[in-house]
Symmetry: D3
Subunit: 134 residues, 6 copies
């Protein structure tokens, strides 16, 4: 009954589209600032996505956790790096984070599995249509 990774991505993309086309332009400006916070700079994008992941875990937001796991893996984060990131979130945020650690662990495994089945399959690259909004 749990949503698949693609359903999660699709719902986010569709609702973001509605919000950005609502005619209320300051939503667009905030979303643009949000995207820009994670691009390569003095710190690389991968590090920033992992920072976003820590923040999402200690604030306990599953949608945000999925998004930053997805993005950090796209930027090349390894399982070891993700586990160390999960651990920082667990230590800072305490046992209240554990249900979100379970979710993060499950999503990490799913996204890595998708990547394997993609790379062992055709060159379709569905991730190129990834919307980039939080």
């Amino acid at each position: 009954m749990k949503k698949t990774t693609s359903e999660t991505r699709l719902y986010r993309a569709e609702m973001n589209e509605k919000i950005l086309n609502s005619g209320f332009n300051d939503f667009k400006k905030f979303f643009a600032l949000d995207n820009k916070a994670y691009i390569d700079g003095a710190l690389p994008a991968k590090t920033k996505e992992l920072m976003g992941l820590v923040a999402s875990m200690v604030l306990r937001c599953n949608d945000c956790i999925f998004y930053h796991i997805d993005r950090s893996i796209q930027e090349g984060a390894t399982k070891e790096e993700l586990l160390e990131t999960f651990n920082i979130a667990l230590i800072v945020g305490g046992s209240i984070v554990i249900p979100h650690l379970r979710y993060a662990f499950e999503m990490m495994e799913r996204v890595f599995e998708e990547g394997e089945s993609l790379s062992s399959g055709s060159s379709s690259g569905s991730s190129s249509s990834f919307s980039g909004e939080n």
Copy 2:
């Protein structure tokens, strides 16, 4: 009237000492896990301290913010890296983070100034006695 950086470090060190010597040993185990979460691994210590800083800012804990600014600068974080880290915290956490951004900005400047006066002065290296507890 605001505490100096050394007063802040001293109070933390003294109280941690009392807590760790209280006879309640699971405090020690938690503090050990906490320290270990930030050492070099798949991710370098500097990155981990900056992650701890993002978490501290979005959870809005000034003592924790000071600690991770102090530690990340010890690990070589630059002003540019700190500003990008502050920005991620501001975007994730919103305007409620702004008072903590002001605090973080002020502490960053103070710690960099201390470093300059230390390196331009004698080889005293008071940071070598740094306790390492959160």
Copy 3:
């Protein structure tokens, strides 16, 4: 798979009924204070419901968000007023609020659509049975 607005309202009404009839009377007193906080006073009920909505969004509680959207629209809030309210919540609470902004946006659209189909249909007025508990 997502609950309909009427399922959400029904579950809340049924569980509140059980809680209020549990024999623990201080729950009743708290619920009464809660209801009273939003009635017309120096500030009108609509403004207070929108305040409850901002609080629910920055504290990231979807059930509470739905409730205050439902109530504020009953009190006459327009789409423009709701979007400005969403924006304050987004700016105060940051990108961690975005998943709840998506939820709020979707619920706002559903409640307005219900209202249209009701007003274009018969005079049934199912909202008259609305329980009023949070």
Copy 4:
């Protein structure tokens, strides 16, 4: 569509198993500290589980709420004790806790019903396989 109490327990047990076998050993150390925090000491286990329940309710984590209701009932907590605990959480945490009060109330009833059907039935004692991790 809501998960049964046994599905909730099963998912937690399975994911905890994966996390504890991930090769990242500090997760194990944290989980061990977590378990140890609730065993009989100067304060009895029942009291500690109820404390964990209050903390879970004010921090608004349904998975944690279910876990501590389940555990505190295993330790002998009565309905009256649970209602007084819920009330402290409601007063400390405010109306934002109400959706979690509804959840807690429903789970309390389900766990008591399970206990009754177990004790009126065979001596199977499925709770003996209870994993104990948060």
Copy 5:
């Protein structure tokens, strides 16, 4: 030993100045969005400042509470409107808000007293130099 209202305003203005002149331009963009969220629109500025106040109280940020009390009084909020706003925050956020209710109450009284001494005195209008940043 508690900071006066003018010291609080001054520190905020000075630190915001430093942050906005740090060369990191996205801080400026966020601060601009923040300011814009509270100007007259479908909802009047006074209502929006009171919404910012509710959000600040339930998120328990004293600096933010002071700022929005100050601004909402500038926009014409009365004591009755402020007390009703405080009450919504207390009910939504619970007893954990009480220390911030004490702070809010004290600041409200101070800002009203300042206003009286200003209006009974010369026409100096020091509030015209108010910076407007959060």
Copy 6:
């Protein structure tokens, strides 16, 4: 520069007095419900105060922490019981709770010292004038 325990108690008592006499009567009703949540019932007052302490620590409110330490010691809580309570809060809430653990530890020591100097001195019993408001 840190406030003494009696200054903290005095400020709370004075401000609560102002709030309760503000003419806004629902504050009184909420404060009454708050007080009532901690009186002897199915669970003893001491246990309830320790529950209030756990909640205050994971929500990271120093004023609330001091209040519940003060009250739980009046109700007979021992140092061992307090340390176990602190530990539950630390494990549930994580390292972000550590600054509040330091505060809690310091206040616990101060309140026990006061008690000793009182009991070794005259029979004055200043605690009998304790206001009882949160």
